[in-house]
Subunit: 227 residues, 2 copies
DNA sequence: CGACCATTTGATATGGATCAAGCGATGTGG
DNA sequence: CCACATCGCTTGATCCATATCAAATGGTCG
């Protein structure tokens, strides 16, 4: 029903902590990244699965990541996309509530959750930061809910504006994800996403030089569509 | 476009902190409720508005509360329903991202946010609790997202199961909210909600003795619909 | 070049929205 | 105590946005 995710040998991808990060943070707030290791993941590789114990916290170094759930009949809902600098996989309970996969080849900084929690009990700044990350996720989820009650045009417009805001304020967006990923994020079909983009291009609101690259030609119009 | 919310004099409802709560908590974790005041709100009274400074944190003592956003064209999305015991209005930034209203006459425990934040910097248990509350909200939002991609039947079934789980594990639910509230929570129209309930009643999955009271007759069927 | 996969485009079907009555409970004034 | 207005909910008829089914196009890699 949905594009099959390439199955890649898990154990080879997930066990080895590849290179230690020797960085020492300048600000206290960055202490969260003090002890971590960067791991590479291949396109479509699973980073963690729903219901697995949440042992680690992750930060995208390069590439992009999606989190998702699959309903029992195969419908997939993407919870969020994570771009370089974004943190994901933070859970307060000890199980992941979504699965996470690499959208493209990527590098991810992996940090031990238990160490962070321990640190947070001693260092208030760390505790605040963990809280703030959860709050950021909550904000994202609320925006997502607001997207899902809108029309197809509004959802696509909102998605494009969100991506533009996150990947530098440029008018040119490089999309790391497929149309299917976008569709599953917006609660639409791949055909509707494609048609909507075509429509926006025809009405000169965007340009689509290649399928993964989108130029915003008329932000005002997009914002108006964003309701 | 949507049922008009009765306008009730705000200042008379929001200013007075009515009776101080002298309670002393037994567990440290409850310290959050140490200093608060119980305030009554009338049906449809605004508790706070979107974009207002988030000075307080609230806990439902009795009655029920809805949070919502209104898009510029009038569409309303309800973010969540809060029942006795639930906490709402917690923000990490200092502005509310939703508005909150009393669904029915209710009593709400009101706590000063600044005091809690201050307390959290000294007391780790409090900090953890604030974090956990935000995480609970995140969980709720994720469930809500998963609801919004489903069919009308599935959304209604999911809603009923959620309400049943929250209001005692009984098979009889007393709904504090109107069909319009349910519709705006589920991203459906009032007509579709009504028709779907009728359908479920006809197929003997539920009974609807009065419009605000629903009996779950066949949980297995509901769970199956819940996908 | 040819196979494969992602994307677009076209034709048709359908679930839920919209428009429009009807119905039952609750409350109000005569 | 009853007539009647009001409000929340249900039911009916029709429409439309998006899904579904199907095929064509285009880009990438061996």
């Amino acid at each position: 029903m949905y594009t099959q995710t390439a199955m890649i040998n898990r154990s080879s991808l997930r066990q080895p902590a590849l290179r230690l990060v020797p960085q020492v943070s300048s600000r206290m707030g960055d202490s969260i990244e003090m002890m971590g290791a960067v791991m590479p993941f291949g396109r479509n590789a699973e980073i963690y699965g729903e219901n697995e114990p949440a042992e680690y916290l992750y930060k995208v170094v390069s590439g992009a990541v999606r989190t998702y759930k699959v309903l029992n009949d195969g419908r997939r809902q993407i919870g969020a996309f994570y771009l370089p600098g974004d943190i994901f996989g933070l859970e307060v309970c000890d199980e992941h509530t979504f699965s996470a996969e690499a959208i493209a080849d990527c590098k991810v900084l992996v940090m031990k959750r238990s160490a962070l929690i321990a640190l947070a009990t001693r260092d208030n700044a760390v505790a605040q930061q963990l809280w703030a990350m959860t709050a950021t996720e909550l904000q994202r989820a609320h925006n997502h809910i607001m997207l899902l009650i809108k029309t197809a045009q509004e959802r696509v417009a909102g998605f494009l504006l969100e991506m533009a805001a996150r990947s530098g304020a440029s008018n040119e967006i490089e999309l790391p994800m497929s149309r299917q990923d976008i569709a599953d994020y917006l609660g639409l079909t791949i055909e509707t996403v494609s048609r909507t983009l075509t429509q926006l291009e025809i009405s000169a609101v965007i340009a689509v030089p290649t399928s993964r690259r989108i130029v915003l030609r008329n932000r005002a119009a997009l914002s108006r569509l964003n309701a």
